[in-house]
């Protein structure tokens, strides 16, 4: 199995946010700080790996017509459990993620295509795919969070480093406060998506252009 290709797929060529356009909702909303982005990304990754693994193991036993609904149920149960666990053990993160914490299963269902990959591949491969897609998601969210926190708050690692205040990179009065709001979410994610597209387009630019042309 070509693990390297799968990892590269998750991070770049089939990046869930920048290329497959799934899970954008939470990606725009929770990236106010580096740590929020990272926390959300890792939570989604964990749920995705587990749900992919379970669905892949169940695939033979599930009646064909129930596959989608089973994928939804399993993911919802795992996501709900993740929600409760984060509330119990990382209450600060739960507070920051707010409404988007219970929406984790929705993101995972879209990221995993309701088990499309898991039902067609072995358990190990499905879990690896979950890991790769999750890491791709985490990468984008973390980068966007880093950018937004840097410009909007002027700090690094807010909520974790230096007793919750983060490392101050420049005085707060020079920070662009608007970036802490919805505007910043869209702009930061746009920049990160552009970065991913830049790396994707570099070696095979012509091929990419053709693909885009066919789509448009």
């Amino acid at each position: 199995m070509n693990i390297g290709k799968q990892i590269k797929g998750g991070l770049l060529t089939r990046n869930p946010v920048a290329v497959r356009l799934v899970g954008l909702c939470a990606a725009v909303a929770v990236t106010t700080t580096l740590l929020n982005g990272l926390g959300m990304g890792l939570c989604v990754t964990a749920v995705l790996i587990l749900s992919n693994g379970i669905l892949s193991a169940l695939w033979f036993y599930l009646p064909q017509r129930l596959r989608t609904i089973s994928a939804i149920m399993v993911t919802a149960a795992l996501g709900g459990a993740a929600d409760l666990l984060i509330q119990a053990f990382f209450p600060a993160l739960a507070g920051e993620l707010g409404l988007f914490l219970p929406l984790v299963p929705v993101t995972v269902i879209l990221l995993g295509g309701a088990g499309t990959y898991a039902y067609e591949n072995t358990v190990a491969s499905s879990m690896l795919e979950g890991l790769c897609q999750g890491l791709g998601y985490t990468l984008v969210l973390t980068l966007a969070g880093f950018l937004r926190e840097l410009l909007g708050k002027g700090s690094f690692g807010f909520g974790f480093l230096e007793g919750g205040q983060g490392i101050r990179l420049f005085p707060e009065q020079y920070a662009a406060l608007g970036l802490n709001g919805p505007v910043g979410g869209f702009l930061a994610l746009g920049c990160v998506a552009a970065l991913v597209q830049y790396f994707n387009g570099r070696p095979k630019r012509t091929k990419k252009k053709e693909k885009e042309g066919a789509k448009g």
């Binding site: 920048a18 989608t68 939804i72 996501g79 709900g80 988007f100 505007v183 746009g190 552009a194």
Partner: protein, 197 residues
């Protein structure tokens, strides 16, 4: 204050303009970006989301109020709401096939419509904050209309954007996201707009 027609109207206008689902609450960015390729597609996606959001809000509130809360089952609420949304979308698809056989569905398909942050986010907010069925329904309709307005505006801009030149790396999604950011900036102009008051 609650219950009167004007208060419901002010909730609705507030939800459409001031706390717009997409631009202020950042819910539903996925279908918002995917379904806005052309004005026609945007209209289809917007109407579909409005319909589903209205129905799901209407269905989930009583389920939460009369089944989940009295039995202390708050921890399964997300799973239940997700199932209700999926069920409703399936039902709508069935109905659509019966009513307009052979015609394509007006949106990108069932699953993204049901597993949709905008729909479920509005439902979750409803069960957390809202105290009456009518208000919940109003938030559902208004949230959907807010989404429709946002996606129509955005599709209009995107149709022009196709012909605009921008750096290669920004083509497609990134420039769309930046545009959405600018539209969100426009919508902050509505903040603290005082309706009927």
């Amino acid at each position: 204050m609650s219950g009167s027609f004007f208060s419901l109207m002010s909730i609705a206008l507030g939800a459409i303009l001031v706390s717009n689902v997409v631009f202020s609450q950042l819910l539903g960015a996925g279908p918002f970006l995917k379904g806005s390729g052309s004005l026609r597609a945007a209209l289809g996606t917007g109407l579909a989301v409005t319909l589903v959001m209205t129905l799901t809000s209407a269905a989930c509130w009583p389920v939460n109020e009369y089944i989940l809360v009295p039995n202390g089952l708050k921890f399964v609420e997300m799973a239940i709401f997700l199932l209700i949304a999926v069920f409703l979308v399936e039902l709508l698809e069935l109905l659509w096939r019966k009513l307009a056989p052979g015609r394509e569905l007006p949106s990108t398909g069932g699953l993204p419509l049901a597993a949709n942050c905008a729909v479920l986010g509005v439902v979750l907010q409803n069960v957390q904050n809202v105290s009456s069925f009518l208000q919940s329904l109003t938030y559902g309709v208004a949230g959907g209309l807010g989404f429709l307005l946002a996606i129509l505006l955005f599709a209009g801009v995107r149709e022009r954007l196709e012909f605009a030149e921008c750096p290669k790396a920004f083509e497609g999604l990134p420039i769309a996201l930046v545009t959405a950011g600018l539209l969100a900036l426009c919508f902050t102009g509505f903040s603290n707009l005082n309706i009927f008051g």
